[in-house]
Homo-oligomer: 620 residues x 2
């Protein structure tokens, strides 16, 4: 086929650069690149429409490399498209290079950081759904490996794509038969994969992934399909294709060739036409994400005599904010009536995304939305956010601007029992660098912090409560990242109690009990758990009779607010004792009051702790 | 059908108790129980074989309630089987009751704690695979809801069941059309679910889930199938079935009836024959899990002049232990050549379970194995254990005795970049109550701690290193839960550096640098991160010139070893300063040395920190 000769040369060039860059790096996954080189060549040569000057142009097509270990292929493709000289890809995996071992935001053409497998189809689904919602006429391509098709998230994503009829999405599965440590589950039995994608609502095209004409026809069919379905191109490929001593061989995953092997490989590849490149198709126009001015506020009236659940106020606040700010999208996993994101669905249905019970996909879809400048708000039970811990981690690596809302936190949820209690969430979010954690305890602070959350650039976690709580603050009060509020204070405070969320009310009750005994304590509402208000904590320690801090929280003992507080004070210059009151065993079903008592974080437990501490003289 | 009249009465009785118990509790999910009442009645009346005296009898059939919110159904079924008086289920959701809101180990007949959806099929797969491996002739039944079929883990599990031809497993999908916050994705379109299960290798039987004869026939077919496949019974049901004002109605999920509504419902149900019960079929024999004596040790020879990667030593050690201890099973997610669990596969293939790239299913399969007394060892990259954070959390609620091994930790892995770096793992495991965390730094401690891990009852996490490290310890040294080792010590130590894993070697290098400057420091190897060695830490603080502790670790700053150490010392009685050195930003590709430097946890960074601290006089 004369027509495909030049294309074949281009694919050869891709192979050369993937081999060279990995050998120069001394590590990497060349064979995983080689299996998909032909697929990539046809896509970039004939179908992919992209303006390299504006990676975020909304009219660009999108290319998500779900099999992130094939990063050198991604780098070769964009290099051959003219984004940078291909020689530069020889800096692969170097400390100061944008060409990292797996794609990260340092490479501006990466739609997301990948490398934890099985997340790319969800990111692509987010990009494709957004294009549908915002009436953008482009295509989203996702290159998947066969090994990662065992990841459940892929099927969450496939389900989502099928349900939403994302016919602007084209998944390309590189079925090269070999995974890292051995053969995949189904080898070259393409029908296994085809049947699955079909069952999940895809139009499926099966091809030989090294037959350029077949690939061309497949993309042509995919681009012009009118079935209203997402499309999966299932391509039978050979790992290491093009180099005989690598082809279909076990033991070559994640191994770079040494210099001698490279020489041998390049000799076999033969002479390349190094001037060849891709002339990318150009989108018709440029449209960049428009950001709304960021000084969000809400205007919700609260009645001083009434109690409100903070989750309920979140629902109202985000709905109000969504009316002013077109960037906000809210995602749900079938708990919208519990998180109160239902209010947003009612107010702005076109910006609400029902993800059903599939939290992993929900988070990576949000990462896709964030990539194009949206502010996705992901709300579910705090306990169920742990289902997406890896996706949240990768979203952070992607520098995604996602807002997470976790409701039903702590043992305070009561009768539903331990499976539904969010008790690890502060640790999970707190561990990720620069992630803000808010836990408001009343309606006013919730409304204000919901607005702050939207304005803050970067990942924020808002922890909401199941039960109703009384108002603590006047509507004029302001709440800041890194702030806290002193709720009780006197000239003769004995020590300080730092609390947050539901335990604020336990601390206040304890203070009332103690006051009757003539003991004054200072109460701090740490509504911002990370970063915690170091200066206020230090001030309290200095001003109180004893340099003692009690932290009390409805979270497991390790990794929670207490650790943030202790850490912030660990270089304090005054003798300091800290007592961390938190949940230290698996809880159970029961009434909220019983469970707070059982966990040792009730008002009476706090009062008892205070009495025991001030009874014993502290060493000078 | 005369034949089914009594059965119908039994189903009615189930409904009555589910309604009564939830109303008495004032909360719960009666309508989710009612849709599956007929399925449960037929199963328990005619097929389920179980000795109630010995819940762990290996010859019992197993029943996993994946839709854990239908707990009252589970309690009614076992009550009607005679496990306890049904009146007792009226203590549902009470603080001191075994009948929790969602099943937990307090209910001895629960195969696992459920309530985070989509995990039951994996647990069942673990139980069924074990039966296959150990040649036990029983059946595993799993009751799934339709909402949870959107969870990717269900498809990881289905894939696993199909791949392993688990024809002793029968999944029952209760397709009641309504999820928590609205209709499910596919309503009563049974074919959607049927096509999926078929594509994943199941034999599918579609029925009306309220037609007792059809249910009976379906179970009969399932029990006698010879297709060599797992079986899925897809049952069309009505949420709230049996009570007209609840049937197929939105807005009734997770709501108990009030007293008036209950009265109305029971009137509609009509008179019940309260003496009816299930005469469970009895297994032919009793076989209880046999536990091997627990004083594990290995006898691996290490050469003093050689370096070893701790991950490599883990592989050798677990293989040796597996030869002595029949309870050990090792599970992999296609990284066995990197974690070195490959050694175990080679040594004891019949106790190795390849789960392919599906970490969530792997962990819940392990929970199934643990239920029947096995000691499952789950090994993958530490970063990818976060993929199963929710399953690990639920395994902990299940009191599962799983051993987790996470390799490739920290920025020290180098060129592969941030997606592959385990930097949240200590926080994740450390947050779960009573979970032991080991991080050995050399071959000797790895071998010994691998044995300790097996012997310790309960969850243990072993953190292994990618790169080789020199020997630190003599083979006679012992290592304990809660222990640490002093590696450098002198009469005039200025302060203490607590390190673990790779940073032990950075701390030692720093000590060498400082010694040349006349500065002695004490070096602690905290090979047990949780519980951390509080008494040794306190001792160091007292014995050194300055009461200063530096913690240095290859983990994100929050939730790691540093926080364990600070916490342990937070009630210390001497003036104390702690400096936590850890990773505080997302890392990148590069050489190990570059990345340790970049993260501020290198030898030079430690030395610099020491110099700065002892240069400044500390306040008395």
């Amino acid at each position: 086929m004369e027509k495909y000769k030049e294309l074949q040369q281009k694919a050869k060039l891709i192979r050369k650069w993937c081999l060279r860059s990995t050998t120069t790096a001394g590590s990497g996954h060349p064979t995983s690149c080689l299996s998909a080189a032909d697929l990539g060549a046809v896509l970039f040569d004939r179908y992919f429409s992209y303006n390299l000057e504006e990676a975020l142009n909304l009219h660009n097509d999108r290319f998500v490399l779900s099999k992130g270990h094939a990063a050198p292929l991604l780098y070769a493709l964009f290099g051959m498209a003219g984004a940078y000289p291909l020689e530069e890809t020889l800096r692969l995996r170097k400390f100061d290079s944008r060409f990292e071992g797996h794609p990260t935001p340092k490479f501006v053409y990466a739609e997301a950081a990948t490398g934890s497998l099985g997340q790319g189809l969800s990111v692509g689904a987010g990009l494709a759904l957004l294009a549908k919602r915002e009436k953008i006429d482009n295509k989203t391509f996702i290159l998947l490996g066969d090994g990662e098709l065992a990841e459940g998230q892929v099927w969450e994503a496939a389900n989502f794509c099928g349900y939403h009829h994302l016919d602007n999405l084209i998944a390309i599965a590189d079925i090269n038969r070999l995974a890292q440590s051995g053969p995949t589950m189904f080898g070259h039995d393409l029908e296994k994969y085809a049947a699955r994608f079909r069952a999940f609502g895809f139009e499926v095209i099966e091809i030989n992934g090294h037959d350029l004409k077949a690939i061309d026809n497949a993309f042509h069919q995919a681009m012009n399909s009118e079935q209203g379905k997402p499309i999966a191109i299932i391509a039978e490929t050979i790992k290491g294709k093009g180099i005989s001593f690598l082809e279909d061989k076990e033991g070559w995953h994640g191994k770079a060739l040494d210099e001698d092997q490279l020489k041998k490989a390049l000799t076999e590849l033969g002479p390349t036409e190094d001037q060849l490149h891709f002339d990318l198709k150009q989108p018709n126009s440029i449209l960049l994400p428009q950001h709304h001015t960021k000084n969000s506020s809400t205007n919700l009236p609260f009645n001083k005599d009434q109690e409100y659940a903070t989750r309920e106020v979140f629902g109202q606040a985000i709905s109000e904010l969504g009316k002013e700010n077109n960037d906000i999208y809210v995602l749900d996993a079938d708990v919208k009536n519990s998180t109160f994101s239902l209010d947003f669905l009612k107010a702005i249905p076109e910006h609400f995304i029902e993800c059903f019970i599939a939290e992993q996909n929900m988070v990576s879809v949000a990462a896709g939305l964030s990539r194009l400048g949206k502010i996705p708000v992901v709300a579910t039970f705090a306990a169920f956010l742990t289902r997406a811990a890896d996706q949240i981690r990768m979203a952070r690596v992607s520098e995604a601007n996602i807002k997470f809302v976790g409701s039903h936190v702590g043992v305070a949820i009561g009768e539903d029992g331990p499976s539904q209690m969010g008790l690890e969430d502060i640790a999970m979010f707190g561990t990720l660098p620069d992630t803000i954690i808010f836990q408001p305890s009343d309606a006013v602070s919730t409304a204000k912090l919901t607005a702050k959350m939207i304005d803050h650039p970067g990942m924020v976690y808002l922890r909401t409560l199941r039960s109703k709580t009384p108002l603590l603050y006047d509507e004029k009060e302001s709440f800041e990242v890194g702030g806290s509020k002193v709720l009780r204070s006197s000239a003769d405070d004995q020590l300080t109690i730092a609390s947050s969320g539901i335990t604020v009310f336990e601390a206040l009750k304890a203070a009332d009990l103690l006051k009757k005994e003539g003991i004054n304590v200072r109460i701090l509402d740490c509504y911002c758990i990370s970063p915690i208000d170091q200066s206020s904590l230090k001030k309290c320690i200095i001003e109180t009779q004893y340099p003692i801090l009690i932290t009390v929280e409805d979270h497991f003992a390790h990794g929670g607010m207490g650790d943030f507080a202790i850490s912030a004070l660990s270089s304090s210059e005054r003798i300091l004792q800290v007592r961390k009151m938190a949940v230290s065993h698996i809880s159970r079903s029961g009434k909220m009051e019983e469970l707070l008592e059982d966990a040792g974080i009730s008002a009476s437990a706090i009062a008892k702790m205070v009495r025991s501490l001030i009874a014993v003289p502290i060493l000078p």
